[in-house]
Amino acid sequence: MADYLPHTPEEVATMLALVGVDSLEGLYAHVPSAVRLAGGLDLPAGVSEPDAAALVAGYGARNGARASELVCFAGAGAYDHEVPPVVRALAGRSEFVTAYTPYQPEVAQGVLQAIFEYQTLVARLAGLPIANASLYDGATALVEALNMAHGATGRSRMLVSSGVHPHWRAVARTFAAGTGHEVVEVPLVGGRTDWSGLDPEGVAAVVVAYPNYLGVLEDPAEAKALAESVGALLVVAGDPVAAGVLRSAGSWGADVFVGEGQPFGTALSFGGPYLGLFACAEDQVRRLPGRIVGETLDTEGRRAYVTTLRAREQDIRREKATSNVCTNQTLMAVTAAIQLGWLGTAGLREVATRCAQGAHYLFDELVGLEGVTPVTTEPFFREFALRLRRPAREVIARLAQEGILAGVALEALVGPGDRSIDAPEDVLLVAVTERRTRAEIDHYVAAMRGALQ
């Protein structure tokens, strides 16, 4: 049995005496015996850290997809970017890791200022004036954007492009059961959202992904025109790395930007903890979900930071709060600020450019193979979808034997009846980051050729 308790038996006895009971069990004398657990928890006995280390090492060793085994060409919102030792060291400082929400700003200026810097960076990437202190992930950031649109318009109909990540749409559907929102998934035709023929009545939000989950750079101006014509908010779901070189959501007229911030310093981590990016226009600030840090002064006139506009939040406003968010993803936000500081203006541009260069190089090579056709001829940025003459999951299994994680099988990503793609079982989604070398890409192409023969 192991634990982290400091108390000696003598100290326990002395403390019990002050409390006035004669055993640790006696502390629970007032808990009704009818509900007390007899015989203890049905769990294995505890073991020391070194013994537990052997136990947990097995978990990682049984993941065939770990980076030491497979070179990653999978994306779908989770990307294998460089995270340098300096970012890991700084983001891993225990002052950030073991603090909590900055309720006492006098001793939390470190986290508060780091969040302020993060908000500044997210706002710049979004091309919008306001960003919050983080949400759980991209999917839940989308849900909060829909709730904001409902608050802004009093309407409940959400036109969500099927180019939005299938999981994000699934999460939006789940939470709509509570809010009563109607989530209308607008189909993709040839990789682009078909906004025609929609009932414009009662629309609160128009949501477009830029690029969409198939990698396609759609024209957000179409979605903007639709949103404007019906008085709805335009929500742009963006790839934050692409945002380093693409026109910003704000420049397309977005009222809200949401995104998945994992590419900024967070490892693939089997999907979490990730980082929900959220930015919005000035006129939506009172409806912002979650925390926001503001600059102010202390009583001696020094610059200081504090969580602000608190009257929106659940601990003050309770059932009338703009969101129920309390604990969010601060450490990932701090990490993103540090990673962006490391990349800098030139580095982010370089990373985004190299992603696009690698993706286009691989795309050009793969579409030259027999049995491979592109799903669409639309422009793409760093990710693309291919139709293969064999099922994508078989191809993934085959390429794994050659040390490659070939991508994401759309069949596994989209739900039944999804209106974004036909025959998803044949479709492979492939992403390239700045970490992929030409040798790795050439190896991928050769392996794919073999797999399709």
């Binding site: 002050l18 909590y100 059961a177 659940q314 129920n324 070398t437």
Partner: protein
Amino acid sequence: MTASPAGRASSAPLMGRDAEPTLFEISVPGRHAYQLRTTDVPARPLAELVPTAHLAEAPVAIAEVSERDLVGHVTRLSHRQFSVDLGMYPLGSCTMKYNPKFCDAVAADPGLASVHPAAPAALTQGWLEVLVDLEERLCAITGMAAATLQPAAGAAGELTGLLLMRAYHESRGDVRRRVIIPDSAHGTNPASVTLGGYEVTTVPSNDRGLVDLEALRGVLGPDVAGIMLTNPNTLGLFEEEIVEIAAAVHEVGGLLYYDGANLNAILGVVRPGDMGFDIVHMNLHKTFATPHGGGGPGAGPVAVAAHLADFLPGPRAVREGAGFTWATPPRSIGRVHGWHGNALVLARALAYIHVHGAEGLTRVAQHAVLNANWLRRRLAAILPAAHDRMCMHECTLRATPLKDAYGVRALDVAKALLEEGFHAPTVYFPLIVDEALMFEPTETESPQTLEALAQAIERIAVRAATDPEGLHRAPQTTPVARVDEARAARHLVATADAPRP
């Protein structure tokens, strides 16, 4: 009880006193830190790859700093930040216990951290095993049948639980309108109820600080979907009539939701399932010691009784033969997270459970309750308890005597504690207690540390009598003094680019 109180995070200044410029203020055009792999990928201009209509005219301005300056900047920020590793953090309701470094090391294992979330099940058997092992253990701890690990934090778990409640009732053709919440509840409860599509009915606490059973019976009816309860409640008191409460709610066809914020108090002693709860969320960042990260990431798994298992979010990792696969429950409410939940947080919690085992977890609860009760007794002469009897893992005390005698309020005591090198307790919560100071010492603080905290409060009480004005100005030895919150709200400056007032 101890001759020599423990060390504490005290010096003057307490931490970095000088303001730190922002990342943008230390930026110098042309400077950079990044280094990337040599890839030999053909370097075609972006304008050849992407239609220029999509490209920004200028790159987004980030910052331009050297690696050394970045390290200095972030390290100095860290010196302006209190943390559990630095000192005692008795923030009630938040369970700021020591976070074992071992669990961090487990999460850093590249075998876990480098795995893509969409990799096929055959290539992620280790991860699926982590999820199944954790789910089984959490069910054993809570006395429930099955769980979802997707919710990313406690509030996400609450909303998931409410959607489960809704799906359950709707599956029976049962339309229900209200969810009952005690007046002592966390703010996330009513906020989640609204998002779950229900109306809040508040039930008052009685003079013992517990749910008023008669009042509860008065608000129950066939339109009640359920009740959300924290037990021990937010006053740190065990709801002794839980069996009667459960019977009354079940009687009208409602479900019992257990808010696991205070689960640390009862590990191995009493299980929510045995108390009659149908739905339970856990805050792994509290009870299972995963670090709070300055405000996340957390993890808020939701466990349910057997009659609700078919509604759980999916996909869930499940056993299949000798291995593991994904399966979505037949009447699933759907996904509540973009992927599988905060996986690395889940792995940390599993490592914590491996180390502690059944007996270790029980000792955790017992010592958390011991520390809170000792502190309650030790401070009784200065800060009387809101309800002076056995508490659980936290004690809600009142600064009312200091306010009445010297005009010194709970907020002043909290701020003075910062000067003394301790994090403040939770103040002015629960809302039903006057001048509330909620202390949760947690089990990992030693008796010497508790004694040092008690002596600090004794010094503050002396200052209250001799220099109350000084306490209104506290803290003075911290990186900044009290901040002007009204100014921040009046003129929002949320980015470095915002216009200043």
